[in-house]
Amino acid sequence: MERLRVDWRVATVTGVSDETSSARTLVLDVDGWPRHRAGQHVDVRLTAEDGYQAERSYSIASAPEDPAVSLTIERIDDGEVSPYLAGEVRDGDQFELRGPIGGHFTWRAEQGGPLLLVGGGSGLVPLMAMLRHRRAVGSDAPARQTRRPGGLEPLQARRP
């Protein structure tokens, strides 16, 4: 078990791209980011002008090999944080983030396969991190992924 301190860091948005009509990927430059494992998540903390803070957890979408950290966020229309992250945020914006978090649901290519990845909606995001990791290291572990029609389906095709 790695024992990295889980400290708050500043994340700067360096790219924003729509995945679907309700999901958006934020590419982040994170101060001192330690390498994550595919399947882990981060905590995001936003601070309003009046000092009010909101925290949420989001899965990491990018492979550990990717120098930038990406989060893919599905917008929940009556949500408090996702409409901001998947709507308002633009290049250069900053927020706080800490992680990587979670050691249970992760995959490293050395663990081998086969992989059967089943997820729906934003649950696809950590599975995509695993597939991107698989591709980045040239793993030949057999992998199958199921997805729900109408979910984040175009994601794999557009962001290999």
């Binding site: 905590d43 601070t47 002008e49 909101a54 925290e55 408090e80 901001y84 308002e88």
Partner: protein
Amino acid sequence: MAFVSRGFRGRQRSEIDSSRVPPGQYVVNDFPVLSAGPTPRTDTANWSFSIDGEIDEPLSWTWDELMALPQETFTVDIHCVTKWSKLDTTWTGVAIDTLLDGVVTEAEHVVARCDGDYTTNVPLEDVTGGRAWLAHTFGGEPLAAEHGGPARLLVPHLYFWKSAKWVRGLTLTIEDQPGFWELAGYHNYGDPWKEQRYWSD
């Protein structure tokens, strides 16, 4: 104070008593389900609960024996480490004090043992003194399997992963023995008011 996130205002929050919401938490009205594995389903006819470890004679109760013990109905706020809090949840169950009545032990910790092999550790003093229950009823209804039924541990003053679902026993221990999430990077104690989410908090 951290810097401001441009354009973030947050939700209208006047209707919630913020003094009841620990830092970093938000209030939900539904009851999210988060489990690390499949949901075990144990019939109450085959269910038992035991206390073992640092105790002269291990104790055990069948479901009927549990139901024959003094029952308490109580309303508490619960706080999940994944950020949601649920206020004014009403449960019925047996106080851990009742189960430990008359027990003499050198132990200072307990490990909750569960169907599905989940474990979590709590200091003994945190499950006594009227602060923890073996809960079998939620909102007047039998506790659903997805929420830990037939019975779960309830330690509402700690993050909710300590309130182990499908609990089948407590092991009294001299040494602290970190459980499933505690070994996976989460905080060993988990006080929501100190925001003790991860091991280094």
